[in-house]
């Protein structure tokens, strides 16, 4: 079990560093081809309401999100800094995990704010790629816009 724990914690660490380093293409590689990725508010999730702020059905859609950020969308230069807590892992199958996060947003102008807190709810395939990822954010309000993935 401790081996699996380390593997899942390691995967979350790679997930966080890929986003924080602005290596979103590497971040994509952590997902299975037929993954589902959502960012949804805790209010909606708890009320059983299905709408998401970001929803990708498959890695191709997630890749479209990344290429839109690279080429189409306009947003002020910004970075995130993730801090992810130790994952609570269930061996499954499939392997599932929950982990809490804090994400600070750092604007090029210098302002840092605690942009989001919440939890990752993930399920993995045999190769420990992400099959399901629901990012449940606690902060009811999103400040200004959500460009980079959480």
């Amino acid at each position: 079990m401790s081996g699996l724990q380390d593997e899942v914690d390691g995967l979350f660490a790679r997930y966080a560093m890929a986003i924080d380093d602005d290596r979103l293409e590497d971040w994509l590689e952590l997902f299975a081809e037929d993954c589902r990725y959502r960012i949804a508010s805790r209010d909606n999730v708890e009320a059983g309401l299905p709408v998401s702020v970001v929803y990708a059905d498959g890695r191709a859609m997630l890749a479209d999100r990344v290429s839109a950020l690279r080429r189409a969308n306009i947003y002020e230069a910004q970075r995130y800094r993730h801090v992810i807590g130790r994952a609570l892992v269930e061996a499954g199958p499939p392997v599932t995990a929950r982990a809490g996060y804090h994400v600070a947003r750092i604007m090029r102008e210098g302002d840092v704010m605690l942009f989001s807190t919440g939890e990752y709810r993930a399920a993995f395939d045999e190769a420990l790629r992400i099959r399901e990822m629901t990012v449940v954010y606690d902060n009811a309000r999103i400040d200004t816009l959500l460009a980079l993935p959480l």
Partner: protein, 411 residues
């Protein structure tokens, strides 16, 4: 009454110049609360689908004023201030509740669902000591009530006894356009809340401004989808305050050239790797794939392909605005359409592929206009009038907003 005398006279003639103070001036902001939000206008409160059961209530806002909108035991709609008649605390904390009475937590005064004060804790004192004076008349104390009316499942309220009935206020064109998208029983899909770093009017102007759409938002152009655009227009009502902008796009059937491009996949740039996102269904049968509608001053109805939502713009200070999005579909949606709505919710909203920029651009103006008191912005695209126009290279509905705003503000 706020003293607005230090504001410069409106730069005339007409509506083609807007002084930057309107986004920055504290006294003006307070005057808007009084003359506009508590004045002669109808304000969106919630969707009826958010209040489906008798004897239930929700909290909302009219301008900065907290409001409770309720259904009484018979199902009739009411609205009143969310402010206890005693010391002014919020009567209802949180999103809402259900029951026959709403009780303030502070001193347990309670209200029926029409907003009438029904109970005062220890009204008769304790063991004959204390209590309210003999002549205290509960019927003379209570939160202010709003007039309430609904159109197509949208609940509006007003503090004004003078404003005409809701349907007259909306006018036939807006009523018809709302009925076009809201003709069936609604199923709620969820809500987003977003904080904008700008004055509320900058967001409303942005929604009305069809000129910026293809310039600021490059999703369609980048992924070579804009050639699909066929026709569109902007319609402005007589008051200027309400508008509809619409366009037709052939997205209901997959485009073969586009699909071939898509097969070259996501390492090859400039094509969506998975174009399911933009495959809309022509669910209203008229080919119109985009309809953005505003009701003066702060209500937006959105159809972006199959992503349907209403937006409520809530001022939270001179330079802070909360945007409340409510996404919906219909009870008779088939599973495919239900899924398509969830996918296309990606197109708009705080992380919208097409329009995430709208969350930030008002802040760019707010920051750019710092120190610009005495100067004006230019609103001249498409002429000087507020008439309906074909095409989208126009600011006619932005001028319309200022026409309606000036009328109600007396400026």
């Amino acid at each position: 009454m706020q003293d607005l005398s230090r504001l410069p006279a409106w730069p005339g003639p007409g509506l083609t110049r807007v002084p930057f103070e309107v986004y920055r001036d504290r006294a003006l902001y307070e005057a808007e609360q009084e003359r506009l939000f508590r004045g002669p206008a109808w304000h969106f409160l919630c969707m009826e689908a958010e209040l489906p059961e008798p004897a239930s209530w929700r909290t909302t806002f009219v301008g900065e004023t907290p409001v409770i909108v309720s259904r009484d035991g018979q199902g009739a709609l009411h609205a009143f201030e969310n402010r206890c008649a005693h010391r002014g605390a919020l009567i209802c904390l949180g999103e809402g509740g259900r029951g026959r009475r709403i009780q303030c937590v502070y001193h347990a005064w309670n209200y029926d669902l029409e907003g009438n004060l029904r109970g005062v804790a220890f009204e008769g004192g304790i063991d004959g000591a204390g209590g309210m004076p003999e002549g205290f008349d509960k019927s003379r104390h209570g939160p202010r009530k709003l007039r309430v009316a609904a159109w197509c499942g949208l609940v509006f309220g007003t503090f004004s006894p003078d404003v005409p009935d809701l349907e007259t206020w909306l006018g036939p064109e807006i009523c018809a356009r709302l009925a076009r998208v809201l003709g069936r029983p609604v199923r709620l899909l969820g809500r987003h809340r977003q904080m904008l770093p700008n004055n509320w009017k900058l967001y409303v102007e942005n929604v009305k401004d069809s000129y910026h759409a293809s310039l600021l938002h490059s999703f369609f152009a980048t992924f070579r989808l804009n050639r699909l655009t066929q026709e569109g227009g902007v319609e402005v009502d007589e008051s200027g305050g309400h508008h509809v902008s619409w366009s037709r796009m052939q997205t209901d059937r997959p485009n073969e050239d586009y699909e071939k491009g898509g097969l070259r996949a996501w390492k090859d740039d400039y094509a969506l790797a998975d174009p399911r996102l933009i495959h809309g269904r022509d669910e209203f049968g008229d080919g119109v794939s985009l309809q953005i509608l505003t009701v003066f001053p702060t209500f937006v109805s959105q159809q972006v392909q199959n992503a349907l939502a209403v937006r409520q713009v809530v001022p939270k200070g001179v330079d802070r605005t909360e945007l409340l999005w409510t996404y919906y579909g219909f009870e008779d949606d088939d599973p495919e359409l239900a899924e398509q709505r969830l996918l296309q919710a990606n197109l708009v909203g705080p992380a919208g592929f097409i329009s995430m920029e709208d969350g930030a651009v008002g802040g760019f103006v707010q920051r750019g206009a710092a120190g610009a008191d005495g100067l004006d912005s230019v609103v001249e695209m498409g002429g000087a009038g507020t008439e309906s126009q074909r095409g989208r290279a126009t600011e006619t509905s932005v001028r319309g907003f200022w026409k309606a705003w000036r009328a109600v503000m007396g400026l």
